[in-house]
Symmetry: C2
Subunit: 208 residues, 2 copies
């Protein structure tokens, strides 16, 4: 029999794991917002702990050192970008459509907390081992974008002469929004992303 | 009579000022390269001094604190961008041509040492007072770009529906090159800048 027949004040393993995940999540959200607003180097784990009304050792308990907290924030941002690539790659239709969908989603993620951290906090901030892991994950995103651009060029749905530089230009145009866009700005992140993508795509539409 | 008729081992005021400027310049070049390569926070003035075979107090003597060294690096980068805006604004012809010239030069500066620092080192690194000065200088560049885009839209040499987002997208596409481009890469910075500008401009050329 898995659970006692009568109510108990003790949580079972699943409940404990869920509570742990919720607490890790709260710490990461508080940390990433401070990193984005004040900069990683000027934020201490004491500040993060104070904003949550907890102690720094509790952050160590749930997540580890400040470097590990940052790496986890960056990993979440990169995970969302990778997810965006997987979703776009599964769509039917011409390559240009998949590229558009990926770029829009890329822009949205990059203006959200964890995505913003990927752009705002340079990887020089990471310890060497975390930096190598971060760069490997980031390379996957760069390669995914390069593939979308290449496919749109190959199937003729876009007119692109330099796949590499087009990819860099597009990712830069979108990533820059993580620097200037304010979460409380007049336009929603999704609207900004859509408009920037329209500006970029117009330059590679086949000219009839 | 301004100068002694016979050779003298003592330098006059002009020579002393020139020597001082040359030394400040050498310190700034060494510092900016380290900031760009390792990151500002992980570089100490001791590292910069060691790379020049001098002592840290000599850096204080010529330039002041680490914050002041960074501010001076950033100011040089921004000066070059402002110079680019002044030069482009003085050119004849349609607005699109001035925009192209400015964007190309912007890309070149941003891939050079001091310009790269403007992009790589976020302004969170600066002390509050230097940060306010940096942001005021940076705003001038943003406004200059906005004007070039607006003028190209107004005189019909470009087809632009959203001046603000087009400006942000273009500056982002070029600024990103300060992150990925390597000074020893296969293509020269000027060639990369020219190609990215071609990609961007194609999207705003009036469609006939």
């Amino acid at each position: 029999m898995d659970r006692p027949a009568t109510p108990t004040p003790f949580r079972n393993a699943t409940e404990r794991e869920q509570e742990r995940a919720t607490k890790r999540d709260a710490v990461l959200r508080a940390a990433v917002r401070m990193f984005n607003q004040r900069g990683y180097h000027t934020t201490s784990l004491d500040d993060v702990a104070a904003s949550l009304g907890i102690s720094k050792p509790l952050i160590y308990h749930y997540l580890g050192t400040k470097d590990q907290v940052l790496f986890e924030c960056l990993r979440r941002g990169l995970d969302r970008l990778r997810q965006a690539a997987v979703e776009a790659a599964g769509l039917p239709g011409p390559g240009l459509e998949r590229l558009k969908v990926f770029l829009r989603r890329y822009g949205e993620v990059i203006m959200d907390d964890f995505g913003r951290c990927v752009i705002r906090t340079g990887d020089e901030a990471l310890a060497p081992e975390s930096r190598a892991r971060f760069r490997a994950l980031k390379r996957e995103i760069d390669q995914a974008l390069r593939r979308f651009v290449q496919e749109a060029a190959d199937d003729g749905s876009a007119s692109i002469s330099d796949v590499k530089l087009t990819s860099f230009a597009f990712v830069g145009a979108l990533s820059w929004s993580a620097r200037w866009q304010e979460p409380e700005g007049a336009l929603a992140a999704s609207e900004i992303a859509a408009r920037i993508v329209d500006i970029l795509i117009r330059g590679i539409e086949p000219q009839v």
